[in-house]
């Protein structure tokens, strides 16, 4: 793993993609690849070799949950941590998403200024648990 965290971000809303790109690249200093669908992500993931998947839940054609399933089937990605982004903010829904195998759930609207801190914390905790 290089020093700069590589994040593959999948989100179907172009405006949110742009806001998140600024937040992740300019505030967080991460290396970010953005895809607007699950299919595109599956196509480009191998070439990018991300350290983290940041997946929107509600997307047409392939939901974040379905995408996670496909990633887990691939030995290249079956151990890469996944954070879900969701607009469904109920505590019970957040718990259900964690149950699917995500390391964390970020609720929309997220705060672009603190988003990168949140991701750093999640990754630190994840790596600790792996060590």
């Amino acid at each position: 793993m290089s020093d700069t965290l590589k994040i593959l971000h999948v989100e179907d809303d172009a405006d949110i993609l742009e806001v998140a790109r600024l937040a992740l690249e300019m505030v967080g200093g991460f290396n970010v690849l953005q895809c607007s669908s699950g299919a595109e992500a599956l196509e480009r993931a191998a070439g990018f070799a991300p350290d983290l998947f940041l997946l929107d839940m509600m997307m047409p054609e392939m939901s974040g949950e379905q995408l996670l399933g496909k990633l887990r089937e691939d030995p290249q990605f079956d151990d890469i941590p996944v954070i879900f982004m969701t607009a469904r903010a109920q505590a019970s829904e957040v718990e259900a998403l964690k149950g699917l195998g995500a390391v964390d759930v970020i609720v929309k609207p997220f705060d672009p200024v603190t988003l990168s801190d949140q991701i750093n914390q999640v990754m630190a905790k994840y790596q600790q648990s792996k060590a």
Partner: protein, 552 residues
Amino acid sequence: MVKNIKKTSNRVVAIAWAMMWLVHPALAGTGSELSPDSRAGTVMLIVFFSMSCLLAWTVLNNRRTTSLVKVKSEDAAFQIDALNRHSIVTITDKHSNIIDVNDRQLALFGYERSELIGKPASILYPESDFSVYANVRSTLARGEIFTGETRLISKTGQIIWTQSTIVPMFDDEGEHIKSISIRTDITKTKIANAEREMRTALHLVRDEIYMFDMETLKFTYLNQMAMEQNGWDEAEYATKDPGDVNPEFDVATFRALSQPLIDAEVDQVRYSLVNKGTPYDVSLQLIQPDGARPRFVAISRDASERVALEKTKDEFIATVSHELRSPLTSIKGSLGLILAGTTGDFSDRTRGMLEIARRNADRLILIINDILDLEKIAAGQMKFVLEPTDLTELIREGIDANEPYGGRFGVSFKGEGLEAPVIVNCDMDRIFQVLTNLMTNAAKFSQAGSHVTVALEKTDETARISVIDTGAGIPPDAQARIFDRFAQVDSSDRRAKGGTGLGLSIVKAIVERHGGKIELESEVGVGSTFRVDLPIMAGRNSEGEKGHTVAA
């Protein structure tokens, strides 16, 4: 007419009494012993004679030319026997005390003759029908014949419907001395009629209706809809029970469910079930029709529509939530990034405008969250995870967490009565939400430099959390609607203080879902106290622990 009957009756009575002396001294009151059968037979003979005379008189009086059929004596005996088998005969004195009854009455009402003789005839009437009994007495006293349906009651409390004719007898002076009643048992007809009417009505109902015996659970009635649903006809269902309708029907579960009906603790039990993939709402009652065994009535309604509607509503809420949050994510995100300087410098005036935009985007998010919370609570979909929770701990956490918020208004928080643990069964997160809401509200409306007290008191049954401020107070007219949605004392408050106007209605809903209640006491210029009472867990709080009383 009354007078005529009386006059005629007197003639008849005179002849009847003469006959009685001839036929049987016992009935004329000499008191010699006779077998009940022959006594009743004699009674019937007299009754027949009396009635024949009455009929004859009526016919003649109406100037009809029909002649009466002459009754031979052996025919008369035969007829009396038949009548005795058919009718219930009671003779009473002028005070309505029973002088004699026939065997049919004894058999039907379950009494010994000695149990009825000398008793007032009211013994034969159910308590609820004493007014009918009074009406009969007054009719007879006026010298009139009573005819009509009367509800009587057996020794064991069974209702016996009768069609009655009660004729008063008079002596030579025209004084009412006795009455004789001849009744036909019409209970079976009554029940059959009532059932026929009920069945006709119930067949039209679009819900499925099942009646089944309380003991055997065998069906006694299915309405048209229920028969159609199960593909049975009237001949078939009598051998079936609820287990034949729903393969998952469990007798033990049903017995437990229906026990409160049998114990008369409730008059209705409602439950939902799924039978072969279809959801049903069921209402269960226990009835005991006159003269029949107790039975359950289950009204089963297809709940597919309700369930589908709830699902649609859920989906709608989820969609609205998503559709509103997505654009807000971009708005809030863009504003946040600009204000953080990510995109370059801007003037203070621009910053001011951007702050306003961001603040209002935040407000919109809060409102959406609150509306969704309320919808979920209202639809009973908000999951409450109840577990034993120490309120003193929760209040301490609440004070810590809200201290920074209070600081913005120059207000501090103070806990009272937090020395010994007070355990209630609650959803910790939701009660924390309640605490936070009440505390931030109190801070918002308090003077800088003042403090807000969060006090805990414990009684045998409840734990009371009081959030006490010394702020502006709430006028009485606003107190009444303070827990309504979007109710604030003044709508300018909302803008100035940044609330959504939904917080207190959410607080109330959460408290009520815990089986608790919330109250407000407030005086303008003095301050406000919000009191939350939560039911306490029996046995969890040890004897020695006493809550501190706090003067509000």
